[in-house]
Point group: C2
Chain length 289, copies 2
């Protein structure tokens, strides 16, 4: 590889750029970002060499597109129009169905690899980017068979050097499952934060009474609305389904309390303690720690 273009030089794109700097020291990295200040910061931080010029795409060996999922759907077709035949373009979007549908019949579909690296923090922007973000993390790849074989190889070699675990999935299954283990968590966290802020007019009380448990539970409520609103929009049906099931479980818990069925509540919690064993399987939880 000689030239890489990173579109969206925030946490995700910036962390890929840092990985390339380390693993392919000779590669020139060019960046694009709708936010001028992010682009300047990315140059300052050495994430990228400089702003990508008009012609940069044509000669790029790899284009990493790390922008919100609504921008992905809008921009990926043009990006694919402008790359050469040996260039692999991959995204990092938290939804996959609409993106894969949008590109299904694109003449350069074989240059695209649909990816979702399960990695991130509640922070965003180029200053939040760090090398090692992807180490031990899972990268879910959809419709691998639609990507040209040598371009699959090029991208997979990079992911493996980053230390990522690769899992293959179809986009519909991806969006259904991710709604439960990621999208719903963000809503529960945002609404928990909202409920407490609404109540605690005097924030001193939160300062003094909230502990690390509360902080852990509302941590995702720090996440970027620009990133998350489009995710909820694209995965609307699945997210609404998870929300309905979550609300039902909360209502059931409330009914048990109203009925003074604390034995049943004990049982509920006991059954859910299994999550501890399940969580042991989640790689590198340290990212948010």
């Amino acid at each position: 590889m000689k030239k890489v273009v990173v579109i969206g030089v925030g946490l995700i794109g910036g962390a890929f750029a840092k990985g390339i700097r380390r693993l392919y020291p000779k590669v020139e990295i060019y960046g694009l970002d709708t936010r001028k200040e992010h682009l300047e910061k990315a140059v300052q931080l050495g994430l990228i060499n400089e702003k990508a010029t008009e012609g940069a795409m044509v000669n790029a060996d790899m284009v990493i597109v790390a922008v919100p999922v609504n921008a992905l759907v809008r921009e990926l077709p043009q990006i694919l129009d402008s790359v050469g035949e040996h260039c692999v373009v991959f995204d990092a979007g938290s939804t996959k169905s609409l993106i894969c549908q949008t590109l299904e019949n694109h003449p350069r579909r074989r240059n695209f690899l649909a990816c979702h690296p399960i990695a991130g923090t509640e922070f965003s922007g180029p200053t939040a980017a760090f090398d090692g973000l992807y180490e031990g993390k899972t990268n879910i790849i959809c419709e691998i068979e639609k990507t040209a074989f040598p371009l699959q190889e090029k991208a997979l070699a990079f992911f493996q050097k980053l230390g990522m675990r690769i899992r293959y999935m179809n986009p519909v299954a991806h969006d259904r499952h991710i709604a439960y283990v990621s999208h719903l968590s963000h809503i529960s966290s945002f609404m928990l934060g909202k409920t407490v802020i609404q109540k605690e007019k005097n924030e001193r009380d939160i300062f003094d009474m909230a502990g690390s448990g509360f902080e852990s539970t509302v941590r995702l409520a720090k996440s970027s609305p620009d990133m998350w609103a489009p995710i909820f929009e694209q995965n609307k049906e699945n997210v609404i389904e998870t929300l309905e099931e979550y609300i039902q479980n909360l209502e059931a818990f409330k009914s048990m309390m109203e009925a003074n069925d604390f034995k049943g509540i004990h049982q509920e919690m006991n059954n859910t303690n299994r999550i501890q064993q399940i969580l042991k399987g989640i790689p590198l939880t340290k990212t948010l720690d």
Copy 2:
């Protein structure tokens, strides 16, 4: 201080015992626990010298009662009956109203200090206890004026040596506020864990797709049902109120999604991002990290 009795040698009682070992090396620590294996483990780990004998209370300078809140209400009256007049007895319960009511007219009320150290992890038992758990944490003390002055001094000197921040509150306000910043978080976390486990029959999918964000949000679902069911029972009215407000906010979020009001959802998340500034005020979040 010469003799301390720790009743309940789990995470909370054990961490106090470790603090006493460090700060008052000459003090003898005796322990009691309904779980024989916890008591034995506590001796093995050096948390306590040995099991407290019948007569231990009479000569104790301090009795630390770190048992579930239902056991506190049942056992604190007898504990107070059996201590000498220079002994301070304090609890660490996550509810305060019923405990303070129960002891209101106890002849030894002035020997009791109602405490709630905002500290803990999702783990429990003597092996989970570590020194430093209380450093920088808030200890909420209720009805300080009902405790004999020299006994207030004795307990406060210990808390200050542990590095705790002291806040005074009335038991009713404590229980109302703590429902929001602690009790509700646990329910949201348990029910999130339940919702995902229900859906993901095949746990492999959770392993592979869940990231650190999910882990952070469901972390409290590892908590002990023996500890939490009685807390929900004692704080029933407040907890039900918080649950209703939380469910209303989730329903409102769902309605905005159904109405495709993603601009409104963006605004909601944007408003709640303030939680980041609020969380900056929470001391020592590292406990759960």
